[in-house]
Symmetry: C2
Subunit: 118 residues, 2 copies
């Protein structure tokens, strides 16, 4: 990867856009351990409404990161799973998780310091 000319490169922004909303990364992460049904996802994630979850999954689907599989019987059981492409995104997301685990406290401290200063 070239270290310069990054910003004008649409590819980089494309990747940033994939993470530029509240739930994309969270849902991808929630799918890391295998296919899941919406109910499972919701309880695993917590705090996400059915509607927003669906919207997020549609977005991820649109970008080729997730695929949807309906049950073959008529029951309303559906599964979502990461595509191979989506799975490759776990590595960078992992990097962020590790970062948060290590530096999360510092960020929160900075936030409180900034608030205190006001």
């Amino acid at each position: 990867m070239p270290t310069d000319a990054f910003l004008a490169d649409c590819r980089a922004r494309l990747a940033f856009d994939l993470l530029s909303n509240t739930w994309n990364a969270v849902v991808l992460w929630a799918l890391r351990d295998g296919p899941s049904r919406p109910v499972e996802l919701r309880e695993r994630i917590g705090g996400i409404s059915s509607k927003v979850l669906t919207e997020t999954l549609r977005r991820l689907q649109f970008n080729g990161l997730v695929e949807r599989q309906a049950a073959r019987d008529a029951s309303s059981r559906v599964e979502y799973r990461l595509t191979p492409l989506g799975r490759t995104l776990l590595t960078p997301i992992d990097a962020f998780g590790a970062w948060a685990f290590e530096y999360g406290d510092e960020v929160m401290a900075a936030q409180e310091a900034a608030c205190a200063g006001r």
Copy 2:
């Protein structure tokens, strides 16, 4: 880092939130090579208004990732630079850049395929 109990962990979401807007990652990236003045940042980034750049820098400042340094003379020259904490974030961002460089085409292809299917 624990691989489970990630989603309920506020720390992880905190990190995701740092990337959950359009410009945070881009501006951080633009600062990677050293302190810069807003004008420089704007031309390096491209497509960002003065107002939005300022807002973004304030956000990053609030989170302790960037610091602002006014010139000592009265001229209106200001520099922004990454804090040590902010610099640690470059590694995960790098991971995303590398990912985009490698898989960007696949994402765009998936998008086009999704559009064609409609």
